[in-house]
Subunit: 338 residues, 4 copies
């Protein structure tokens, strides 16, 4: 850590900081510049939080952290990319994995029709919301346990492993019983209680990036899972909040390239939430594949204009089949239709 003293810091203030750095278990390296003094705190066993608090000491202008705060997710720790196995589907192994399904599970027919179409078009996994995080308490909140049953049935028939969101630590056991992969939604990326609970399970986790989280914050959320014991983590970029109002979010494809540079974990793209507009899903899917994403998660509905949630961004069944054909044709990495 580097402590940047103010240009008007006194000798005594500088001495005080040096002493505190030593108290905290670090060595202090002092650089007297032409305008100001800068002090490096060097060592690996010191109490970092206390150095950060020195920002509050008199004469200190800034405390600059120079090491990455994440460890277990870091590619420096592990050069080889992690492959996460979800019911036989390998995410991170080089193939473009495609997860598709409705935003919410609404009924048996809706889900089964979608699941069959996803399978037929070459999709690898099925998604579907059982518990829905909704901005308004008056919006459809999901079918809950009933949806979990329907997902299992659809999986049994099609052989597609399923992923569904878990919103509450209270629901982790039940959802883990039914689902092959548990999704942490964007709003819960920093729900640390939930992360700590999920870390104690082995089930693979799909960790969505928060809509205003930096890549570093996202990786630190993943670090909670790995530090707690669950190494089966897949990241998912789903769009960040920006000023653009024409799209629901802004899908940040550079975050995928950056996350893969910084971490060994696989990274998916969600062009449905990332754009909020059906017409942008195919071009952004292709772009995500080109940037190096390990897979896509796409919303599909038999009749988007009757969907109880996210209709405008859902492809219909024909639209999904066409997208898959497009991916298969242009990108050798894409999965072949069954």
């Amino acid at each position: 850590m580097i402590v940047n003293m103010s240009s008007i810091a006194t000798e005594e203030e500088i001495r005080h900081v040096i002493e505190r750095i030593k108290e905290c278990g670090y060595q202090a390296h002092v650089i007297h510049g032409s305008e100001r003094t800068v002090i490096g705190a060097v060592g690996s066993n010191g109490r970092r939080a206390e150095i950060e608090a020195l920002r509050a000491a008199p004469g200190v202008e800034e405390v600059i952290q120079i090491t990455h705060p994440f460890k277990l997710v870091s590619r420096q720790l592990r050069q080889r990319g992690t492959i996460v196995d979800v019911g036989g589907v390998k995410i991170g192994g080089g193939d473009l994995v495609v997860i598709a399904g409705p935003c919410s599970v609404e009924s048996g027919e809706q889900l089964m029709a979608t699941a069959r179409a996803v399978k037929a078009a070459g999709g690898n996994m099925l998604r579907g919301g059982a518990y829905k995080p909704r901005t308004s308490p008056y919006d459809f909140q999901g079918l809950g346990v009933e949806a979990l049953h329907l997902l299992r049935d659809a999986s049994a028939e099609t052989g597609l492993p399923i992923v569904t969101e878990v919103m509450s630590e209270v629901d982790v056991e039940i959802v883990a019983e039914y689902a092959d992969m548990l999704q942490v939604g964007a709003r819960n990326m920093q729900n640390f209680s939930l992360l700590r609970k999920l870390a104690t399970f082995e089930r693979p986790i799909l960790l969505k990036r928060g809509p205003s989280a930096t890549v570093k914050e996202w990786l630190l959320a993943a670090e909670y899972l790995l530090a707690g014991g669950n190494a089966n983590v897949v990241l998912c970029e789903r769009g960040i909040k920006t000023f653009e109002t024409a799209t629901r979010n802004t899908l940040d494809l550079s975050a995928i390239a950056l996350a893969k540079e910084l971490s060994h974990l696989p990274v998916l793209a969600d062009p449905s939430h990332g754009t909020g507009l059906r017409s942008l899903v195919p071009p952004m899917s292709k772009a995500a594949a080109a940037v190096g994403a390990d897979g896509l998660i796409i919303e599909v509905h038999p009749c988007p204009e009757r969907a109880l949630s996210d209709g405008p961004q859902s492809l219909d069944l024909a639209g999904f089949a066409e997208l898959m054909k497009g991916l298969g044709k242009e990108y050798p990495r894409a999965v072949k239709a069954a």
Copy 2:
């Protein structure tokens, strides 16, 4: 709701939308403009979600919602401002309520020294974190239940009611047993499972605005609490994420004025998290009082440079006393020192 048809929508697409509007329980009012057709969906008992999904129907360009999505928190419902009573302290009653204390409870001495100073300077309530939401799993996570005991002791001696954050629905019971007011932190503003759980209690809630939430989303989070049965809700603006890097967040004082215009709930300001810089806490406290905030929540620590969290934004005990004097002198609404 208004359905804005594309300028190249066909007659049949228009007819289809009109039919769907009727099927959903609304009347359809059609306006044929010079360039395009616009259709109003009128009525109060229709199925709103299905109209929104029409965005996905062919020929539709936009579905525009024209009513506020929140009800129970709305000032239209209740002209008179709500007063929330927290252990005898009335928030929303016209006086500027000042809540102060350390970011984290670190020890009995630290907390008691702070509590006494807060009381002596005229503060009305004591804050202190027992469970801390930290971006990194390697940062100090709070003393947990031990901190709740220490808070109770400090309250017993000083008579100050206490507020502390609850991060998990699993902890709601225990925290509610000890604290006079439960805080929902900014990262949990849209943790709907937690909100639903808190709604079943009577304990007053301090609901912080999410760092990238709009005022409307914030009010909808409060609506979860009121709709679930807990009307004792106090809002708190604590700064939003912006491009500014010199401050930790940007304290949005206009959101306080706007929230008070749209809702009957009391609104506090948190200039400590809102700025992240100690020197900005006093001017922003005065500005918050001037804009009409019902109170302030301020971080105070006996020795900020040794704080385990948020040192740079914490006032020391003398700084807090001086701020209170400043508020008392210039703002007649401020609480007098004991």
Copy 3:
């Protein structure tokens, strides 16, 4: 336009709005809903600005615009994409056009070495800054006219047309004399005086998106050029400001797909400014090609670590050649090496 009256608007306030709508040359269509009244202003020859001002009339809650504010740039006006010819290079014609060169022209050797390498690797045009917009007055501000001479020389030798930024309306004549294409930088996207001046020339314009502009604002800036008489406009997405601090900007590839959907103008991507990091330039270049960009503009420098500006995001000559090979191999649209 739709005027959304407050739910507590009086009969008289509603009548007043209806009268004003008629005064402004529109017809008024009134929809009495269950909660509130909504009034449509219909017609094509009314005075739009005055309807917008009705937002300030008593009882009005909102005035909602339902038509796109841009006309000449709109794809509804012209289904076929525009092809802009820059010294023989056709932008928008289906091939992926690659423009490359140094951020700033620093010397004859630097520029000529780069130009030759760009040509050899298959680049189509040469870029290089003569006048540099710099955040600090103490940073290198460009060589000015001398740089224009050097650019002409490099173009003469390599046959590559050149594009360079013009920052001031005072410089438009001189820059237009030397350059084949004039760039409007991101900071000047809404420099309307400059846009109006450029509209009176025929030289093709490269219009960068402002770092916090919406796609609509960007298209309206282009509309200034077309409305003023210059139809040779190429758009360029160069990254928007977001919370992400690890990258310089966030390259918004969905804006490219969206701009091409809304407008007939060609759209380029600038992955160098868009990311600020050399390692992200190749993956984002491929993603931009996949999303449908008509070309790329890429910073290249013979020795990035000695560049007077933008070194960290510049490819060296070998890195650029490798990128071109990668594009050529995977994307049949990419230009072949000479």
Copy 4:
């Protein structure tokens, strides 16, 4: 400057950076940490830009700047606050200066009626747009020179000095002939050609903060003016872009406190553009006064619902008089009514 080497940097890469630092005219101080090496570049006469470019050298992870990039505007240079005299009105001298008037000058009657009301209510200066920066080329662009004449007339009658925006360096001479103070609009904050031109005049400048500029970038824009020779600069916070959609911008009052801490220049607040909503102008005006702003600039129109621009955020004449009374009563610093 601090060069932060990657944890996997080689000895040779470290040596190379040290050599480059010396070549650039600095001394190199090396700190070998437990995980990585950090190198300080110390000295005051080195070539800073070249050190920054080292970010592009192999093995370098980051180059961290530790000094403020602005000099002449800095409070460290000049402890005492600057007072700018505009036709006898002193900005920065302790009184709250109130500038008011219409967004655009629309006619002689409109302007004169407003000017008289501003004067009567105790306003100190008159504002009014002659050249308007408008997002769309089809919106009202201002009366130009005619408006300048009308502003002079209004000033002659009321004695109020006038401020108006100059959008183009070509117009600087003519605007400077008529106006007492020249405004640089938010969109032009980084129009460096305009800033350089204005720096050669003596007329006071009102420099608005760009809607997505950091405080540091804003101060650097002011530095262009001071470095070029014009020290009569007043800063103006007018709201930044955020996610909030209910307000036009987010007025960042902490930026006022921060700018006054970092710089000796006076700072105004513009609550009209800052909020976009008339009802929020009075509370935010009071808050701006409380936070320490040196003055306010407020939009006033005789009939906001007929204003050709910015109607929704304009106070009418009675509303302005009431605001002034409110400021006068509660804030002793506010100007007394004439």
